[in-house]
Symmetry: C2
Subunit: 347 residues, 2 copies
């Protein structure tokens, strides 16, 4: 697929830049203290694991959509966004006690020379540090000071949002959110990450104010569509499709949109089943399949997919109205089409 | 004492500004989600607990030292520094499992409607959020965009430093640092907080470049002097002087300068005693007194006090060379004198 090739190509550019940035950071850290150099080495390895680089590529491509080019300045900003993405993951994995991330150990599991508590405690401070590194990459990029000010403000606002959303996500483990609650949380989750990334690229690329507003809404809608799909994958994908055991959100007690819809529509026995499974620390394949059955039976799956597609269509429509180059409009449309199509893989 | 009256006076101004900032933040949060409003209410209460406000007042006073005035812009920056101080404390208490902070519960203990894990997990994200709030206060202050850029860069650099230092502090629980290691850690602890605060005030107040360099070194030396004293207080103060049980650093396995010096000078039996006490989760008054005896016997106390005083003198000398107003030079000198004098209370 064309859009995936674009991601691969630009992702490699960002990875190259990130790699050389870490050479510099690690060299400096070695002059300070060997353990801090080792820490940055871990951050380098963690950030450079294979991934789609959706957030940083979104910034790069929206910039290209208005300027027609890629330059060193935007690449510096993109590695900031890439680090931003990872500072969120580092704390997220710690909070959810996830043991793996993208084919490797989660950050808090990297410090095997010490006890588990050490890795967990280091990770609290390391996540803080990675956010500061992200801000520095943007702050030190070669853009004019007023553009840097706008980009930093967007990233800081995004960080507030993502952390508020993470806290609501935790609260929902203990409560019964409704659909409106879910959207309140989701408006600051992937939606926030896409907003910050796409708007930073657009503003640095001198997008007209009208386009910035269109992209703000488009990014929010991409986020909704993406999150709903992502949560469906977590329970409906096979281990082969997913690369890991499905059903993690169930064990964590996460209230995905399809679970909230199920809760509104299920009968007593089904609710009891859900309640039992969500209390467990480990769920069997049979238990996951039984919950899938209820999600299908109540048409929570059908409704969630429809919602995801509805927001995908909104997003495509908004993007078509911008004055970005056709190449970049096509990229975003193809990516959104992919989210929609992939929904049909999970039944 | 004159300098304490100044701190009280300016501290109240900062508290008033912080209070009105939170009214605005909490009002907005109520429109979003009641739990997020409750979260900000907790951040408000936590940040406004009685305290000396040393960091934010240092910024305020260095600004006044160059401009002769206090204005709304600098007060906005000061509440940013106050929040910065607190975002560090929130994660610090969580990592050290400290249960109380300044006469109240530590942040992770504030969520009593839920289980303990909830409060701890919320606190990881809340600390992130408070740092973002701190940056926003500076970013939205009325200073020119190039000054805001410099102030933000100082705070971001400070946040990198403090987190690196926190990580070394954890590492030292597992290792045997020497005096040089301690200074590497300490150059990014209180030293970093004083540097960021004093330099932000000075730069916003148009201090000449030469003064900025003098203040950078002065702040670092204040930090060393302060940290050594603060660590001595932790073990040598009585419960009445300290407001809490002394010896917390021993239980946590923290390697204060006096502990490192003791380690270099103690005999086998004394080292065995130290090792035994540092393995405990709870230390008795008799055990604390036995460690104090070794710190005295090896003259680790005497040497640590001398180091603290030496850096205090460096700092006073550097400050006297700046072109700050006499009122502000007097403030900093009196505050540093206080650190020196207070060392004599602990024997």
């Amino acid at each position: 697929m064309e859009w995936e090739k674009l991601l691969d190509h630009y992702g490699s550019l960002i990875e190259g830049k990130l790699e050389s940035h870490f050479s510099y950071v690690i060299k400096n850290a070695k002059d300070y203290h060997p353990f801090i150099a080792e820490l940055y080495e871990n951050i380098r390895e963690y950030s450079l694991r294979k991934g789609k680089r959706l957030a940083s590529c979104s910034a790069l491509l929206s910039y290209k959509g208005y300027t027609g080019k890629i330059d060193e300045n935007i690449l510096d900003v993109c590695i900031g966004i890439e680090l931003y993405r990872h500072c969120i993951l580092v704390h997220d994995d710690l909070v959810d006690k996830d043991e793996f991330r993208r084919g490797g150990k989660s950050f808090h599991n990297l410090f095997t020379d010490y006890d588990r508590s050490f890795g967990e405690r280091v990770t609290i401070f390391a996540g803080d540090l990675i956010f500061a590194l992200a801000l520095q990459c943007i702050s030190r990029s070669g853009f004019s000071i007023d553009k840097i000010d706008k980009a930093l403000s967007l990233l800081i606002e995004g960080y507030c949002e993502v952390n508020e959303s993470q806290i609501l996500d935790l609260l929902f483990e203990y409560t019964h959110p409704d659909v409106a609650d879910w959207f309140k949380m989701a408006q600051k989750r992937a939606a926030s990450l896409f907003r910050a990334s796409i708007l930073i690229g657009a503003i640095l690329g001198n997008a007209p104010e009208h386009d910035v507003e269109l992209l703000r809404d488009a990014a929010t809608n991409i986020g909704y569509s993406f999150d709903i799909q992502d949560d469906i994958i977590d329970i409906f994908a096979t281990k082969e499709q997913y690369g890991k055991k499905p059903g993690r959100d169930l064990v964590l007690g996460k209230k995905s949109l399809h679970i909230i819809l199920l809760h509104e529509r299920a009968n007593k026995d089904e609710l009891k089943l859900l309640d039992n499974v969500m209390r467990k620390r480990y769920v069997t394949n049979a238990e996951i399949e039984s919950i899938r059955q209820v999600i299908r039976r109540t048409e929570a799956l059908k409704s969630a997919k429809e919602e995801s597609k509805r927001y995908a269509e909104f997003a495509k429509n908004l993007i078509s109205k911008t004055s970005m180059s056709d190449e970049i409009k096509d990229f975003f449309s193809s990516f959104i089409n992919y989210i929609e199509e992939s929904l049909d893989w999970y039944k």
